[in-house]
Point group: C2
Chain length 430, copies 2
């Protein structure tokens, strides 16, 4: 190792950056040993040098001028922890052009422009590390690149949004109402004040794009992900799911099928004995199927200052080792292929359906015929005693191509005895 | 990258080695891309060249002479997949002395002599990779070294023996008897014909030594691990555990306390909502607590030809990259400290106790006094209706230093109204 000290420039000093500073102080000896050299934060880009900070950093190293970091030839590694897309991208690309290693926690940027950024890194003989962009402290990127590197990955299935999992867990385990659970998540700081991106599944869509990029060497943009959120999920569906042996979760799924790849985020019923069903509250997990390893799962806190900082510092140790050894770094991503995105209509799924029907003779016969005519076969049926002439019916189908289910659903909706279709969810049976 | 092909020598062609050969054939392009160069198995050491093999290897590359691999200067990487301790160690050390990288799946060897072998690797400027020695295909070693490298690890808690977890799951979920479950595990190939090492906790003890070596930079030998197996576990304890909200698992635990380190393998009650409680059948998992990341868990198949092969090939890719780049390899382990091993007596635990008492007045008062006098306070009590004048009582204590619990237990045993102490287990409440 040539260098005695590796200088680091940090863009941003928010929540994650504070975690990084903390970890570098508290675990200093260990980090130094693992990195093989001393790590010094030489400059930090902030917008306000006077602002009171939660962490102990010398005011001398704060700057409001990005050039103080990007143009400093003594800085070998840049940590991009400022967030946002356009400025962050500009700084990262400038850092790479100046032959610096880059570490980023920027999910939006890596989901939308990861392929271009990694390609620039490759051209420059440098690398971009982004473990912290998905799953907070949970090791995901590195295991997909290295530990599972001998596998062809068939499917990723993740609970990768803490807010929605917190809400669903509170509704399921403590019979809390949706709005109460959301308010509590906001109070505890798990949910944003404007939780739209979380509840609608957009946050999870960004993350599954990043993970799928690695797992399938694909280049799927967030707007190509099929997205359904958890707004309007009812306690009754959670109740019925449990009665049928399932748990309702917001899943992000990436699959490579014969015809191409499909990425989707939607609520789904999974068996209550599935390891993902035991992922509670704000925890996250990614369940990976590979052709050699079988099924593995990675679990932990998907957000927070220290957990996310843990991933940033792990990346930093690796980048610093690359600088020390004078190598380009850990293996780069595979080249991206332009893989076909399969339309949801062509996917095979089982479905859960809850509806209200007028309690009259022939209802089941008509329903069965409607499904049967579209080649949809039924796996489970629940009907409890009807109330005021109205019956609540819950059906679970066997696996079927989605377009057939949709056709059957269209028929069912047109029956005069159907008062309301309450909910439709996909069911993952294994 | 200088080399176009990296030559590999393989010691052994059993179950795991066959998985490795399979993976290298099936996922050839991907492995080549990730490794940055072609990988060629140049020689395989076997005991019988005529034996029929399950995998497709050319008879020309089989040899019965280890020197054909160890003394071949064109071979840069040696895979030790033969098992056993003394010969395997001799070959590994010889390979390192000849500046070859080594990959091993040898749990017994790494647990008993890992420190010495890694130290030799360090002297030689080479590395030994041993992901496959613990947890089959589950990424454990690399995450502990790299992804969690920024953390001080406080505790490891694992289900790292598939046989015992299979038996306990069958007993718990399907009300199967111990012997039936064991027979089924043997039939399915999860349990050895002589399952002693698994049932007594020795196999898990080896594995926790390897993991603790990395997590705590310690050098604890397998015979310093406190071991209790699952022989004699009764369906009644599994029933009561569930009634109290717990699940009974065989855990391997490593902790770093103020006074030193403690490694232990024993059955324990964990909350049924704990992620480890959802680890069913032959699956394994490791739950890690770090001072930055909080809690993370790694889950998957802990054995088998292809899963274990997945870990070996991941190590192989890394070793080949080291050869290609001419670097020493991924970060080495920290230097081992001689950490004090804390006696079990000084540990704090909660306890579960099931006993049979004569149903007479004053029993609870006497029990309470015996516990209270030794500063053991009780958290939960179950007593069902007595049968033929005999009552079954189940108690769970709060956390207490083990020596106090043991003293209280001694007192309880001497009460004339106690007919039998059926079982004592530690309880992990979070």
């Amino acid at each position: 190792m040539g260098k005695k000290v590796v200088n680091v420039g940090m863009l941003g000093l928010g929540t994650v950056a504070s975690g990084v500073v903390n970890i570098l102080q508290v675990n200093r000896e260990q980090v130094k040993y693992r990195a093989g050299t001393e790590i010094k934060i030489k400059k930090i880009l902030v917008t306000d040098k006077q602002k009171k900070r939660e962490v102990d950093v010398s005011p001398d190293i704060l700057t409001t001028n990005p050039a103080d970091i990007l143009e400093d030839e003594e800085i070998d590694v840049v940590l991009e922890l400022m967030g946002g897309v356009s400025e962050a991208r500009q700084y990262i690309e400038e850092a790479l052009r100046r032959k610096k290693f880059v570490i980023t926690a920027n999910k939006d940027l890596m989901a939308s422009a990861g392929a271009e950024i990694l390609s620039l890194a490759r051209q420059q003989g440098r690398n971009v590390f982004y473990e912290a962009s998905v799953g907070g402290g949970i090791p995901l990127i590195r295991p997909l690149k290295s530990s599972l590197g001998a596998n062809k990955i068939n499917r990723l299935m993740g609970i990768i949004n803490g807010t929605t999992n917190y809400i669903l867990t509170k509704m399921s385990m403590e019979n809390m109402k949706f709005n109460e659970a959301l308010a509590e998540a906001q109070e505890k700081g798990f949910a944003e004040q404007d939780p739209g991106n979380d509840l609608e599944g957009k946050d999870a869509a960004y993350k599954i794009c990043i993970l799928a990029g690695l797992a399938f060497n694909s280049r799927v943009k967030p707007d190509e992900v099929h997205i359904e959120g958890i707004n309007g999920i009812s306690a009754r569906d959670i109740f019925y799911a449990r009665e049928l042996g399932f748990t309702l979760k917001l899943l992000a799924v990436g699959e490579e099928l014969d015809k191409g790849i499909v990425l989707r985020v939607h609520p789904a019923l999974i068996p209550s004995t599935h390891p993902l069903a035991a992922v509670l509250y704000e925890n996250n997990a990614l369940y990976v199927s590979g052709n050699a390893v079988g099924e593995v799962m990675f679990y932990g806190l998907g957000a927070g200052s220290m957990p996310t900082g843990s991933s940033v510092v792990a990346d930093l140790i690796e980048a610093v080792r690359c600088v020390g050894y004078g190598v380009e770094g850990e293996m780069l991503e595979m080249f991206y292929n332009n893989i076909n995105v399969v339309p949801m209509e062509e996917l095979y799924s089982a479905f859960y359906l809850r509806l209200q029907a007028i309690d009259q003779p022939g209802v089941f016969a008509s329903l069965s015929t409607a499904f049967g005519d579209e080649k949809v076969s039924l796996d489970m049926i629940i009907q409890k005693r009807s109330v005021e002439g109205q019956a609540e019916i819950v059906l679970v189908t066997h696996d079927v191509e989605e377009k057939f289910f949709n056709r059957a659903l269209g028929r069912v909706q047109r029956f005069p005895f159907i008062k309301e279709i309450n909910s439709v969810f996909r069911v993952i049976k294994e």
